[in-house]
Assembly symmetry: C2
Homo-oligomer: 798 residues x 2
C-alpha cells in the first residue's frame, strides 16, 4: 500500500501512468499526505479485481436515454446480476446556498400557500385519476359489450343450423384484432406501458428511476392498451394499470408541465425535485388503487407499504385525500353514466358486491377451513409465480423482438378464445335463467329458458365473472365446471401475465381464486350432507383472497383493499387469516410475482432492512472505490472530462477543500451532482483567474428546476479550449453538508441511514473527514440473502 | 474567542480555573490545536448566557428516579418551558464490539428463531391485551349493573311514595365510593395511571421516556382504576386506557421479566433494548385499540400515526397480527361469557352496532350537511380543548396535592350524578317501552309501559347510551332532551377529563357528538317537512365522528377505527369528510387535546418535521456546547467524576482519540452511554497501567442487558482511590460509528436525521472530525412555530 499514483491528467492524451502499481488512493488512512492529490483518477488505470472496483455506482447521464425502446432485448437473464442502467431518485434535498436562500425567504404565510397548493394538487390528482378510471370503465363496457353482442348473435344463429366454427373464428378474429392493436401500441410506442405497472411503481417509490415510467405518453398508451386488452378477452384486469395511471397523473400534474407536449404551465415550480415528486406519486398510486377497488384506505396503505420509508402524518393525510377524491369522482360520474345519479354504488372499477352479512357470517369452526384455503392459495400462488418466472426468463431470452411480442400476444388471445369456446361448447352445465339478467346468456345446446354456466364464467369480462362467483345463489355452477375452469384459467392467466400488453393480474387472480373457492364451498355442502353454513359465495371470497395473496403477497394493504371492496368488515378477520397464511406458505417456496419481475429486470431494489447476516460487512468493503472527486474550486476542463468519461459514471461527486500546497490531505466539504454541474457548464458559470466573483450571481434555483428532470447530456454542451482553462467555484452550488458515514460503519447501519433518508449518494469518510469512498444504491442492493447465506450480485451494464 | 481554558481537574478539589474567560472550547475550528485538550470541562465555569448553554440535553441518571410520585406538584404551568426531566429512548443500537460479535454469530437459522419469537411475543401481547379488555368489560358490566339495579329499585320504590332525594343520595354515595377508591389508587400509588394514557403512549412512541409508564404496577392500577371510574358513573370511557394497558403488556412480555415482581424468566433477553421494546410497545398499543374498538386495522394505523417514524413492512405485519389476536381473544371470551359461543359479535369494548346500509345509505346532497357537522364538531372540539386547557392549567397550579385530587374527583362524581338525577327528574320525555329491552328503564313519573328517555341517556354506561343514540328508532328522543343533554354533558365531560382517575375521553366525545348529531337529524326531519332520508342514527354517527375528531384530531386511524366499529364501509366516505373538516376547523383554533396535554407537561415531543421556518438555524446554533467528552483510554477517576457531576447530565459522551502529546486536536472515535459506563464501573473493568488487557474480556452483552432499563445510580458504585488511578479502555464498549453532522447542517436536516433514525445523541463535528457539540432531543424540540414565527422554548429542570 505504499505505492503512489503518478499524476494523471484528465485530458486523456498525456497520461503517464505507472500501470499495475496503482493503489486505490483514497482508501483508508494509509495514504496520508504523502503525494499530491489530484482530483480525478482515470478508473481505467486501476486493476480491475472485481467488477465493483470500477463500478461507479450510478450509471450514465441523468437525462433519460432513448435506449428503452429496445428495452426487452437487453434484459439480462441472469438473476445474479444487478443492472447499472437504472438511476436513483434523490430524496435528499441538495441544501446548497441557493436552496437555503429560498427556504429562508419562506415565511409562515408562504409556507401555508405551499401547503394549500399541495392539497390542491392532491385533489386534482384524485379527480383526474377518477376520470381516467371512469373513461376506461365506460370504454371497456361499450367495446366488450359490442363484441359479446356480435358474437352472441352469431352463436345464437349458428347453434341451430350448425357451423359454430364460424363463431369461433369470429370470436378469435375480433379478440385478436383488439389485442393486436393494443400490443402494437405497447411494443412499438412505449414498452414500459406493458403489464400492470405495479412493479415499476414499486421501484419508483423505492427510489429507482425506471426510464419513461411517469411520462404522459406512457399514460396514453397504458389507458388505450388496457381498454384493448380487456376488450380483447385476455385473462387480464384493468385494475393494476390504474395504479400506474394514477402515478403518471400525479407526476404530471405536480410538475405543472409536460415535456412530451412541450408545455410548461409555469406553475408548481417549487415541486420540481425528486422529494416532492415522490410524495405526489405516492398520492397518485393511492388514488389509482382507490379508483380501482373503491378502497381509499387500502390505497393509502398500498402506497405506504410499497413506497414510504418515512411516515409523515401530513403527507399520509394528503394521500388519503387524493384517494378519497379519486373514488368519489369515479363514483359520481359512473352513477351519472349509469343513469342513477346519486346512487354512489360504484366506488371502484371492481366492486365485489354487497355480502349480506347477517346470513353469511362465519363460524369458529370455519376458521381452520379458511386457513387451509389460505395455504392452498399460497401453494397455487407459488406455482403460478414459479411458472411465470420460467416463462418470463424464456421471453427475455427468445421473445425480444417487437413483432414476436405482438404475435405472442395474439397467439395467447387466440388460444384463450378457442379454449373458452371449446369449454363452453362441451359444457353440459345448464342453469335456468333467473331474474337477475346475465348480460350475455348463451343458450347453446341448453333447453329453452336455460343458459350455459361455463359461458357465464368465460363469456363476459372477468370482473363480472368474479361478481357472479361471489353472489350467484348456491347451485349456479356445477363442481365440474368450476374445477375445469380453474385448471384452464390458471394456465391461461399465467401465460398471459408478462405479455406485451397493458393489463393487470389482480382480477385474473381473484377470478381463479373465486372459482376454486366456490368449488370448496360446494364440496363442503355436498360431502358432509346438508351443511347450511357453507355459502359458496363466502368461500369464493376467501378463495379469491387466498389466490391473490398467494400471487402478489401484499399484506396489510391487500387485507384492507379486500375489506373495502367487499363493503363490510365482518369478513375482515377471516380475510386476514387467509392472507397471512397465503403469504407465509407462498414465501416458503418463492417470492411474490412483482418481486420476481423486479429481480428479473435486475433492478437495484432496496428491501426494508439490510440482509440479516450482513453485520460482518462494513462501509469500507461495500463502498465504491476509487471515487472521483472534485475540488471546491476546480478547472472547467477537468469537470468536463470527468463528466464525459463514461466509465466514471457516478452522478454525484464529493467536493474537497482546495489545499494551498497540495501536500495536505483534502477534507470533504460538499457533494455536487452531475446534473448541477451540467447546468453550471451550460450557463457558463466560470470564474476567470483575475475576475473572481460576480458572474454566477445570475444563476437561480429556477435554472436548475427548469432543467429537471431531463438534463442535457454533457456532449451537447460546447466548452471552448479557453473556457477549459477557467475555474469554476462550486461552493455555492454544492450541498455543503452531505450525510457521511465512517469507514467502520456496519452495512446494516449504512443501509438504515441510506434507506430511511432516501439517499442517492452517501460519502464514506475516514477519521480525518477525508473522502474514502461513496456508497450508492447499487452498492447496497447487491447484497442479498440467498440459499447459501449472504450472496453478492454482479453488476452489469445491461 | 482566543481565550483558552486552563487545565481543569475533575477531582473537584483542585480546580484552577481562569473564571470568566472560558471559551466553549470545542466550538468550531478556531481552537485548532493551540491548547492541551482536556477531556472534561466543568460546565460550572462557563458563562451562562442562555440557559441552553448549560443545558446538557438529557437529564439525570438513566435509572428511573422516584420523583414521579410527586409528579403533579411540579408540572410547570408555563407553556414556553421544556422540561429536562424527561429522558429519551435510544432507537439507535450501540454497535460496539460486543454487539457486533453477537450479530455476526447470528446466522440465518438463528435469525429465523428470533423472528419466530417476535411473532410469538406479538401473539401473546394480543392474547393478554384481549383478556384484560375482557376482564374490564365483565367487571364494569357487573359492577355497574349491580349499582344501577340497586338505584333503580330504590327509585322505583320512592317514586310512588315520594322521597326521591334518598335515591339521589344513594346514587351520589355509591358513585362517590367507586370513584374515591379509583382515585385513591391512582393518586397515591401510581399517578401516571391517570387519564387515558394516550398522551403518555404517544410520547413513548415518539421516543420520550415517561417514568413508570410501562410498569406492571401502572397496569394494575390502570385496570382497576378504569373499572371503578366507569362504574362510578363518571363521563368517561374504558377504551382509551386499553391502549395504555396494551402498551404495558407489550413492554412486560417482550422483556421476559418484571422488575416490579422481581421475576426474570430468562427469556427474550435479545429484546432488552429500546429499539426492540419500542416495536413491541407499538404492537401493544395497536392491540389495545383493536380490543377497545374491534378495529385491528385502525389499531395498526394508530400505532403508525402516533409512533412510527420508519415504516417497516414486517413490523407492520406483526403489529397487525397482535391486533388481530387481541380483538379475536376478546370476542372469543366475551361470546362465551355471554353464553353465545361462536357468536363473534363483540370484537371490541364498544361496538357501534350494525348499521343497516340498504335503508340508510346517504345521498349526495347530504354531504354538505355532513361537512357542516364536521365544522360544528371542530368548533365544539376546539371549545372543549380550550376549556380543558384552562382547567388543566388551574389544576396544575392549585390542585396538586393528592387529597385535593381525590376530593375533586369525588366532587365531579357527585355533581355528575346530581345533574343526571335532576335532569331525569324534570324530564317529561316519556317513550313507550319497546321489545328490545332497555337495561334499566326508569319509569319515574311516566305512564305505565313508558320510560323516561333522559334516563336512557344518563342512567346507563356511556357505551350503551352511544348505541342507543345510533340505533333507537326515530322518535325515541325528544329534541329538547338531546339539546339539554348535549349542553350538560359537554361541561361534565370537559370537567372530567384530567381528573386523577383512569379514564378515557373517546366515549364521552362520541356520546356528546351522537347526541347533537341525532338532534341535527331530528331537526332535519322536522324542519323540511317529511324528509325520509334524515335517519337520526346516521346523523348521530356523523356527529359522533365530528365531535371525536374535533377533540382528538386523529386522522387516518380515526377514520378507520370509526369504519371498523361501525362494521361497514358505506359510511367511510362521509366519515372521512367529517373528520377532515373537523380537523381543519379545529386546528384553526387550538391543538388536539392530547397535544395540549403533552405541551402542558413540557415534554420534548418531536413533530413530524422541523418547523418550516427553521432553515436559517444550523447545527452550530442548535447544539449543546460545551460537551463533555472522554478519551478512548480514560482515567477511572475522571469517568466517575463526570458521571457524578449533576450539572453535566448528558447520557451520552463522545469519545475522542488519545493523542500522544496532547497537542493535536482530538478526533471523534465513538460515543459511549452513561449506562454503559455505569455497567463498566460496576464490573470494575479497569486496566492497570502495566496490565493492559485480559480483564474486560469477561464482560458480556448480557451484563448490559441485565442492567437494562434500570441502571444503578453512580452513587451506588464504590470506586476506591486506587481504582480511580486505573485506566479504562472504552474501545470495546463504545459505539465506534455514531451518526454525525457537520456544524453547518441546517436544523431541518439535523431534525430529519434525528427523527428518522430515532436517535438520542447526535454528535456535531467540525471539518476535521473533531467534536464540536452534541444534539439531543431537547435541542430540537425547543424550536416551535408560535404566533410570531419561530419560538424558542426555555429549558427547565422541573
Amino acid at each position: 500500500m505504499a505505492n503512489v499514483a503518478k499524476t494523471v491528467s484528465w485530458s486523456g492524451r498525456e497520461q503517464t501512468e505507472d500501470e499495475g502499481e496503482i493503489t486505490p488512493l483514497l482508501n483508508g488512512t494509509s495514504n496520508a499526505g504523502d503525494q499530491p492529490h489530484r482530483p480525478c483518477l482515470s478508473p481505467n488505470f486501476f486493476p480491475i479485481g472485481r467488477l465493483r472496483t470500477v463500478d461507479l455506482g450510478e450509471h450514465n447521464q441523468e437525462q433519460e436515454t432513448e435506449l428503452t425502446t429496445t428495452f426487452t432485448k437487453e434484459i439480462p437473464h441472469n438473476e445474479n446480476l444487478l443492472s447499472l442502467k437504472y438511476e436513483s431518485l434523490d430524496y435528499d434535498n441538495s441544501e446548497n446556498q441557493l436552496f437555503m436562500e429560498e427556504e429562508r425567504r419562506i415565511n409562515h404565510a408562504t409556507f401555508r400557500t405551499v401547503e394549500v397548493t399541495r392539497w390542491v394538487i392532491c385533489g386534482m390528482i384524485g379527480i383526474f385519476t377518477g376520470l381516467i378510471a371512469c373513461f376506461i370503465d365506460i370504454m371497456v363496457e361499450n367495446l366488450a359489450g359490442l363484441k359479446y353482442q356480435v358474437i352472441k348473435d352469431n352463436i345464437d344463429r349458428f347453434t341451430e343450423r350448425g357451423g359454430l366454427s364460424f363463431s369461433l373464428l369470429l370470436w378469435v378474429a375480433l379478440n385478436s384484432a383488439f389485442v393486436m392493436v393494443g400490443s402494437l401500441l405497447v411494443a412499438y410506442i412505449e414498452p414500459v406501458a406493458a403489464g400492470s405497472g405495479i412493479p415499476q411503481i414499486k421501484c419508483f417509490l423505492n427510489g429507482v428511476k425506471i426510464p419513461h415510467v411517469v411520462r404522459l405518453k406512457t399514460l396514453v398508451i397504458k389507458v388505450f392498451g388496457v381498454i384493448l386488452s380487456v376488450s380483447g378477452g385476455l385473462a387480464v384486469g384493468k385494475e393494476g394499470p390504474m395504479i400506474h395511471s394514477g402515478a403518471v397523473v400525479a407526476a404530471g400534474i405536480s410538475q405543472g408541465r409536460s415535456t412530451s407536449l412541450k408545455r410548461d404551465f409555469k406553475i408548481f415550480e417549487y415541486f420540481r425535485r425528486d422529494t416532492e415528486k415522490r410524495d405526489f406519486v405516492s398520492a397518485g398510486a393511492a388514488a389509482g388503487v382507490s379508483a380501482a377497488f373503491g378502497a381509499p384506505v387500502g390505497g393509502v396503505l398500498f402506497s405506504l407499504e410499497e413506497g414510504a420509508s418515512f411516515w409523515n402524518q401530513l403527507l399520509t393525510w394528503r394521500i388519503f385525500f387524493a384517494s378519497m377524491i379519486s373514488t368519489f369522482t369515479l363514483n359520481f360520474f359512473l352513477s351519472i353514466y349509469n343513469q342513477k345519479p346519486g346512487d354512489l354504488s360504484n366506488p371502484g372499477l371492481i366492486n365485489f358486491g354487497r355480502f349480506d352479512t347477517d346470513e353469511n357470517s362465519y363460524k369458529y369452526f370455519e376458521l381452520p377451513i379458511f386457513i387451509l384455503m389460505g395455504a392452498i392459495g399460497g401453494i397455487l400462488g407459488a406455482l403460478f409465480n414459479a411458472l411465470n418466472h420460467c416463462l418470463t426468463t424464456f421471453r427475455i431470452r427468445y421473445i425480444h423482438r417487437r413483432f414476436l411480442q405482438v404475435i405472442e400476444a395474439m397467439l395467447v388471445t387466440g388460444v384463450t378464445a378457442t379454449v373458452a369456446f371449446v369449454m363452453i361448447y362441451y359444457s353440459t352445465d345448464c342453469q335456468p335463467l333467473r331474474e337477475e339478467a346475465i348480460d350475455y346468456p348463451l343458450q347453446l345446446f341448453c333447453a329453452d329458458g336455460q343458459y350455459n354456466a361455463m359461458a357465464s364464467a368465460f363469456f363476459t369480462t372477468p370482473e363480472k365473472s368474479v361478481r357472479r362467483l361471489f353472489h350467484d345463489p348456491p347451485g349456479s355452477f356445477n363442481p365440474q365446471t368450476l374445477g375445469l375452469f380453474t385448471l384452464v384459467y390458471f394456465f391461461l392467466a399465467c401465460w398471459t401475465y408478462g405479455l406485451t400488453v397493458s393489463a393487470g393480474v389482480f382480477i385474473p387472480s381473484l377470478l381463479l381464486g373465486a372459482a376454486w373457492g366456490r368449488l370448496v364451498g360446494i364440496l363442503l355442502t355436498v360431502v358432509p350432507n346438508g351443511v347450511s353454513w357453507a355459502d359458496p359465495g363466502k368461500y369464493a371470497l376467501m378463495g379469491a383472497a387466498a389466490q391473490l395473496g398467494g400471487i402478489v403477497r401484499m399484506t396489510l394493504s391487500l387485507t384492507v383493499i379486500m375489506v373495502e371492496a367487499t363493503g363490510n368488515v365482518t369478513y375482515g378477520f377471516p380475510i386476514m387469516l387467509v392472507l397471512i397464511t397465503a403469504k407465509i406458505v407462498g414465501d416458503y417456496f418463492v417470492e411474490g410475482l412483482y418481486d420476481l419481475h423486479i429481480k428479473l429486470q435486475s433492478v437495484p431494489f432496496l428491501g426494508w432492512e439490510a440482509p440479516v447476516t450482513s453485520h460482518s460487512l462494513t462501509a469500507r468493503e461495500v463502498m465504491s472505490v476509487p471515487v472521483v472527486y472534485l475540488r471546491r474550486r476546480e478547472k472547467v476542463g477537468i469537470i468536463v472530462d470527468v463528466l464525459s468519461e463514461t466509465s466514471s459514471n457516478h452522478n454525484g461527486f464529493p467536493v474537497v477543500e482546495n489545499t494551498v500546497d497540495g501536500s495536505q490531505p483534502s477534507r470533504l466539504c460538499g457533494l455536487i451532482l452531475r446534473s448541477q454541474l451540467i447546468v453550471l457548464l451550460k450557463h457558463k458559470v466560470f470564474v476567470e483567474r483575475e475576475n473572481l466573483s460576480l458572474i454566477y450571481r445570475q444563476l437561480k434555483l429556477k435554472d436548475f428546476r427548469d432543467a429537471y428532470p431531463r438534463f442535457p447530456p454533457i456532449q451537447s454542451i460546447h466548452v471552448s479550449q479557453d473556457e477549459r482553462e477557467c475555474q469554476m467555484d462550486l461552493s455555492e452550488f454544492m450541498n455543503p453538508t452531505p450525510y457521511t458515514v465512517p469507514q467502520e460503519a456496519s452495512l446494516p447501519r449504512v443501509f438504515k441511514l441510506f434507506r430511511a433518508l432516501g439517499l442517492r449518494h452517501l460519502v464514506v469518510v475516514d477519521s480525518h473527514n477525508r473522502v474514502a469512498g461513496l456508497v450508492t444504491r447499487k452498492d447496497l442492493a447487491r447484497y442479498r440473502i440467498g440459499k447459501n447465506g449472504l450472496e453478492e450480485l454482479d453488476l452489469a451494464q445491461t
